[in-house]
């Protein structure tokens, strides 16, 4: 049996999502914009899906726009917000540990002449509220802060951003990349104080190719692409109905967030307790991080070697961060960890399908791996 513990990279589609995808392909393949019955049927599925996502996020369905996923969502919201507000200021504030799909569009804007302020992370991967308040000024037009760091699971003080905006009297919009948080913690736009939020389907057992953005009612941002009037012309193009239907079905199928978080925290605590029976282990995730993500190091064993070793045994985890493509982890570097720890960093990420047996198999694999490489 395969042990899949790389759920921050992607998740296995749940049966509900698979069924919804198939059903949309077989039965609801009309163009949601067509005036005839086939189109009306597809539109009904589209709007139902939108309501499901809105309910899950805790907002109005008018505030949800479907996209192709996290990368597109982050690009759309960031450049859309900056374009819409560029006459009101030039400063953009973000954390130094954002996902590449946030950092890269920010760097583009920096090249275009905007002032980019990246807030440093502390040894727990978090930015300080003090830095945030000090960096937001009257010239600030966008603040982008991830809800949960994708490499170590640290929570960022997202809700402080709105307070900083008010305190400074800034014309800034607040963007939150909630790809790793959605469906895993109680999280809503109001409590987060966010105007713009990015979501992705395949991190919550939906299919790849769908995502959504939240744009607070009354907030206007400029589209990235132009065409028809789909998604109120913010994201034109015929909607990818099977993926969107799968996204909604996956969101609907999520267990109660609070109860599931308690269960996952139990698994995480069990994992860490058992892990400490192994000699020479480092835990890089802070204690109060999201229980779904655990970043550890087995010093002396290169991450790639351990990942290959476990993969041969049908256990799938990630080295550092799956997105970094061989590059040194930015978050772990920002946290000031030693090179030896960074090189051997492993990310284990749980899901609603993770069971205690999976953790036991992983623990056995890690123990065997450590012996294998440090013989």
């Amino acid at each position: 049996m395969l042990i899949y513990l790389d759920n921050s990279a992607t998740t296995a589609p749940c049966p509900e999502a698979m069924e919804a995808v198939t059903h949309a392909l077989e039965d609801t393949w009309g163009n949601p914009s067509s005036p005839h019955a086939a189109g009306i049927k597809a539109e009904a599925l589209l709007e139902n899906s939108r309501r499901t996502i809105a309910e899950k996020l805790g907002c109005s369905s008018d505030e949800i726009y479907f996209t192709s996923g996290g990368t597109e969502g982050n690009n759309l919201l960031i450049s859309g917000a900056v374009k819409a507000r560029q006459r009101q200021g030039r400063r953009i504030v973000a954390t130094a540990v954002e996902h590449p799909s946030v950092e890269a569009p920010l760097r583009q804007l920096e090249n275009d002449g905007f002032e980019l302020v990246l807030l440093p992370a502390d040894s727990e991967g978090k930015i300080s509220e003090k830095d945030l308040f000090e960096s937001v000024n009257k010239d600030t037009i966008l603040i982008s802060i991830m809800a949960v760091n994708n490499e170590v699971g640290s929570f960022q003080p997202v809700s402080a951003a709105k307070k900083a905006v008010v305190a400074a009297g800034a014309p800034a919009l607040v963007h939150c990349d909630a790809v790793q948080a959605f469906g895993k913690i109680p999280f809503n736009p109001h409590s987060a104080g966010a105007d713009l939020i990015t979501l992705s389907a395949h991190k919550i057992h939906g299919p790849k190719g769908a995502g959504a953005v939240f744009v607070k009612s009354g907030v206007h941002i400029t589209p990235l692409t132009f065409g028809g009037n789909q998604e109120k012309a913010l994201r034109p193009g015929t909607q990818l109905m099977p993926a969107i239907a799968g996204f909604a079905a996956a969101a609907k199928a999520l267990p109660d967030t609070g109860k599931e978080l308690v269960r996952i925290s139990g698994l995480r605590d069990y994992f860490l307790n058992e892990l400490f029976r192994m000699p020479n282990i480092a835990v890089n995730s802070p204690k109060d991080s999201l229980a779904y993500i655990v970043n550890i190091s087995v010093p002396g064993v290169l991450a790639a070697h351990m990942v290959n070793f476990l993969s041969e045994r049908g256990i799938y985890i990630s080295g550092g961060s799956a997105c970094s493509g061989g590059k040194k982890s930015r978050t772990l570097t920002a946290m000031g960890l030693k090179d030896e720890i960074i090189k051997s960093a492993l990310r284990i990420s749980f899901s609603r399908f993770t069971r205690k047996e999976d953790i036991d198999r992983l623990l056995q694999g890690l123990t065997d791996g450590q012996k294998r490489f440090l013989h």
Binding site: A304, H305, M306, V307, N308, F309, S311, E312, G325, G326, R372
Partner: protein
């Protein structure tokens, strides 16, 4: 009208009595490379091979692309084969070459009449066709010395062929015409280029790759498959032997001095490769080494490596700069694959301070702690064989 490829043999025609067997090999290679597109008939006369597709709807752009990658062809033409009728030739040529004639500003017409029964001689063909083209494309000027476009009419035994400027071929000698050699391929930039260069000299290739799971990932093997796939577009199919190398690397690490790790590892690679190569009837080994590039590629280190091989070791990149190697790897489209970030066995256990000028006697002494024969036998027994097309 049908289109054909006319192939002018370059170096091949220099080969005297061997020519016929070289041409046979070239034709066989062409047939194999083109067969996915259409069955082809091949005709040979006067140092020209005519490749004629049997499928009328063949994608001729794809044919041209594939022919351009077959070694043993100096230059070739994409030509229209038409009836040997003077008025047909005059009517058809301007239409067939219309796009090129529109773009060019100067041209000339060349005619070759190998069928002497054809009632018009070459100067007559040139004059009549030149006049026709000038009438239809008044912007053109005739330039017999350096024309942008040369319109060629070749009246041969079965057809008259019409074509424009020749297309440069891949050059070299037909794959397989010089025998077979085994390429040691890691996944870096150099070895695919080395393989391509030797294939160009007529060698058929066998691949040998050393894999060290779990230190190396399955991605590293995928990468080697992809690289050889690119080389195979030129060389033809490559049989790849993937050798399990983990145990050997660990044994070297445990039993030999760290500073000699790389050189002893390379000697083991040479021994294993020599055995596999001999079994596969290969007459040589090929590596991507060049002098001075890294510590294991000093003269002394290369001498130590050679000592362990029982076949000649060809190193076509030996005197090349990295830039030149990179530019070939871009040309044969292996560069973007080579730079993918997966560790190969050569980067596992790399010593911090490798011996730059190892002495053979001390290397032999250093590896005496290894059970060389047993390790070698075990590794050869464990090889995985794939055919890369």
């Amino acid at each position: 009208m049908k289109e054909v490829i006319l192939i002018k043999n370059g170096e091949l025609s220099l080969k005297g009595l061997n020519r016929r067997s070289f041409e046979d090999m070239l034709t066989a290679n062409l047939r194999r490379r083109l067969s996915p597109l259409s069955p082809f008939n091949f005709y040979r006369s006067q140092s020209t091979i005519t490749a004629e597709p049997l499928d009328e709807n063949v994608d001729f752009d794809a044919v041209v692309q594939r022919v351009g990658k077959v070694f043993g062809i100096a230059a070739f033409s994409r030509a229209a084969a038409v009836e040997k009728d003077f008025s047909v030739i005059l009517d058809f040529a301007p239409r067939y070459l219309e796009n090129s004639l529109k773009e060019a500003s100067t041209f000339k017409v060349e005619a070759k009449r190998s069928d002497k029964k054809f009632p018009y001689n070459s100067p007559q063909i040139c004059a009549a066709l030149g006049e026709r083209i000038l009438n239809e494309f008044p912007h053109l000027k005739v330039d017999v010395r350096q024309p942008e476009l040369t319109v060629t009419v070749e009246v041969r035994d079965r057809y008259a062929f019409i074509h424009e400027n020749q297309i440069k071929g891949a050059g070299g000698l037909p794959a397989g015409s010089s025998g077979k050699a085994a390429l040691l391929i890691s996944g870096g930039i150099d070895s695919p280029v080395a393989g391509w260069m030797m294939a160009k000299r007529g060698l058929k290739l066998t691949g040998i790759h050393f894999a060290s799971p779990p230190y190396t990932s399955p991605r590293a093997e995928q990468k080697v498959h992809a690289l050889l796939g690119k080389v195979a577009e030129y060389s033809g199919n490559i049989t790849l032997f993937t050798v399990p190398f983990t145990v050997i690397q660990e044994e070297i690490q445990d039993n030999c001095p760290e500073s000699l790790f790389t050189i002893i590892m390379r000697r083991m690679m040479m021994r294993i490769s020599s055995v596999i190569a001999a079994q596969e009837d290969c007459g040589a080994l090929i590596t991507g080494e060049s002098v001075g590039q890294v510590a294991s590629q000093t003269l002394q280190a290369l001498a130590c490596t050679d000592d362990a091989a029982s076949l000649p070791v060809f190193r076509p990149l030996i005197g090349m700069d990295k830039d030149d190697v990179v530019s070939i790897s871009r040309q044969i489209e292996t560069f973007d694959i080579s730079v993918l970030p997966y560790d190969d066995c050569c980067t596992v256990f790399t010593p911090k301070h490798p011996r730059i000028k190892p002495k053979l006697e001390s290397v032999i002494r250093a590896e005496s702690g290894l059970e060389t024969d047993a390790l070698l036998e075990e590794a050869v027994k464990g090889v995985k064989v794939d055919i890369i097309k």
